[in-house]
């Protein structure tokens, strides 16, 4: 069994220079060997995702289970959700694509296979792809994401291809709950339904997880939070997967817009609100590291999390590209990235020291417009998502992100766009931007959100801590009164109903 990351939860270690918790977890929060594996992985380390990119190749179209939250049939260019792809690739096309992308995006460090079906329901295509890539680009880390049904049968092959990260989607350990999420599984040449199907699935998932961690392969668990079905139960799931050696738990909100055509979308099953999701993640946090920066990417996503570049790398374009895979220039670029990253940590730690001795009970959330590198470097009007930080006397802790782009943008004027942004960050006291116009600034102020552009192009955490100090000082001097903010909406699509 691998050593598990000890975690005491948040808010207990202010001033020590720790990078708070969750996937903000820095090297002090986890055993060295795990940190070494995850530190450059954008999906596993919140800090890394500002600096490093990943890509998914869609070589695995077939699936062996049906999930009520999944529909792989529709693809819209603006859509980012698991299972959606624009084109499926052969292993050979996928290998060429990886080399083309790795040459164009030197900070691309991770290649994942995540569907659109299940990679292990397509073992031939999945492992052929890994084989080709490990030969051509040995520095790229391989990972895969699976529903776990076939996992125990493939652990040996996963080891053989040196896959060091596996994600298993586990939404339940109770077959009664599973029967509401999975209509069927394809098992031993039969379609099995109901509780029996869910029992098979959970047994296989947990067995696969145990086998992987026993072999020293890093495992993350994904769970979809489905209000009224598995929301309370996920605390149990969290405990079960931790006890089997999973090192990170990613609880994601259900995506269920009717236009996606999923069973849940069509029968009106709602997704969680921002505060419901955060409350569940917080309640699991004492148990293990929680991931909060997941973008629920497309199965053919390319680039930094939150900045999809898949459209630049269609099969037509790749086949025309001259690929010159140069390992040394990639390494040189990545060294520069590390320097920037160290500077960010140093700035954060220095600012954190000035917070020592501040002993306020209050916590506030702030939203940040950023396009990467851990800096406040995006204009308010250009941001298609905001990163959310919780500020307290312990520092700045990343707690999530809110997307504000619309799947289909037709018919929306600027006024509606601003309202969408306000709904998405309604629980925040301030929004940090590189630049903002006068009008939106006033409208935000009316909604009780302060637009802050004084930290333009500075590091996020350093600026946030500085802002929090000023905020406390202003409360003390009576200049402002602290107001508790309301809930916010997780954007589901164009037709989401608004209730705060």
């Amino acid at each position: 069994m691998q050593k598990m990351a000890e975690h005491k939860g948040c808010g207990t270690s202010g001033g020590s220079g720790k990078a708070s918790c969750g996937t903000g977890a820095g090297e002090n929060d986890m055993p060295t060997e795990i940190w070494e594996k995850v530190k450059n992985h954008p999906c596993y380390s919140e800090e890394a995702h500002h600096h490093y990119a990943r890509m998914h190749v869609a070589v695995a179209p077939a699936c062996n289970i049906q999930c009520n939250y999944c529909n792989r049939k529709y693809d819209c260019a603006n859509e980012s959700r698991p299972g959606v792809v624009s084109e499926k690739l052969s292993p050979e096309q996928a290998a060429k694509k990886v080399l083309a992308v790795a040459s164009a995006i030197p900070q691309m460090t991770v290649l994942g296979i995540a569907g659109p079906g299940d990679p292990l329901a397509n073992p031939g295509k999945t492992f052929k792809t890994f084989e080709l890539i490990s030969e051509a680009a040995p520095d790229i880390k391989l990972c895969l994401s699976t529903n776990g049904l076939s996992l125990p049968d493939h652990v040996e092959t996963i080891k053989k291809f040196n896959v060091d990260h596996v994600t298993i989607t586990i939404n339940m350990t109770d077959p009664d709950i599973g029967a509401e999420i999975y209509p069927w599984v394809f098992w031993k040449h039969k379609r099995v339904t109901g509780k029996e199907a869910a029992k098979i699935l959970t047994d296989r998932q947990l067995q696969g997880l145990e086998m992987l961690t026993a072999n020293g392969i890093l495992c993350k668990v994904n769970s979809v939070m489905i209000p009224g079905i598995n929301d309370d139960h996920l605390v149990t799931v969290n405990r079960e997967v931790k006890s089997r050696g999973a090192f990170l738990h990613n609880i994601m909100p259900l995506i269920s817009s009717p236009e996606h055509g999923t069973v849940f979308g069509l029968n009106g099953q709602r997704g969680p609100s921002a505060q419901e999701l955060k409350a569940l993640q917080d309640s699991c946090e004492g148990e293990m590291n929680m991931m909060r920066h997941c973008r629920q990417c497309r199965a053919d996503a390319v680039g930094l999390l939150g900045e999809d570049r898949s459209a630049e790398f269609t099969t037509d374009k790749i086949m025309e590209m001259e690929v010159n895979y140069d390992l040394s220039s990639r390494q040189a670029y990545q060294e520069k990235v590390e320097e920037e990253r160290q500077a960010k940590v140093a700035a954060r730690n220095a600012e954190l020291e000035t917070l020592a001795g501040e002993n306020a009970d209050l916590k506030i959330l702030v939203a940040v417009a950023t396009k990467g590198s851990g800096r406040i470097n995006e204009h308010f009007g250009h941001a298609d998502e905001f990163q959310i930080y919780e500020l307290s006397s312990n520092g700045a802790k990343f707690v999530g992100h809110r997307r504000v782009d619309l799947y289909c943008q037709g018919g929306y004027g600027e006024e509606e766009a601003l309202e969408t942004v306000i709904r998405a960050i309604n629980d925040c006291t301030a929004v940090f931007v590189a630049k903002i116009g006068h009008c939106p600034k006033e409208d935000l102020a009316k909604a009780g959100i302060e637009a802050v552009d004084q930290y333009a192009y500075e590091f996020i955490e350093q600026s946030a801590i500085s802002y929090f100090k000023d905020y406390l000082a202003k409360i003390r001097s009576g200049e402002i009164t602290h107001v508790t903010r309301g809930d916010a909406t997780i954007r589901q699509g164009a037709f989401v109903s608004v209730d705060a």
Binding site: P61, A62, C63, N64, R72, G117, A121, N122, F186, H189
Partner: protein, 74 residues
């Protein structure tokens, strides 16, 4: 009779291709088709037709009534 795939329903996921014991299923112009000469309705292999069992979309792999029933040779 053999099974056939309703093209308008097929999502081209390829789940059926790997499961067919007769290698009767292949991709043709972006969708999957069953070769009626090879289909045995999985008789002699499995209790239920594998394409039907594994297809994620209901009523996509269906009986083709225009063809005679498959007769397993003795």
């Amino acid at each position: 009779m053999t099974y056939k795939i309703v093209a308008s329903q097929c999502t081209s996921c390829s789940a059926c291709e790997a499961e067919c014991p007769n290698v009767a299923i292949s991709e043709k112009n972006g969708t999957f088709v069953i070769n009626p000469k090879k289909c045995t309705e999985c008789i002699g292999y499995f209790d239920i037709p594998q394409c039907v069992a594994v297809c994620p979309v209901d009523d996509t792999c269906v009986i083709d009534n225009s063809l005679p029933r498959y007769q397993p040779s003795a």
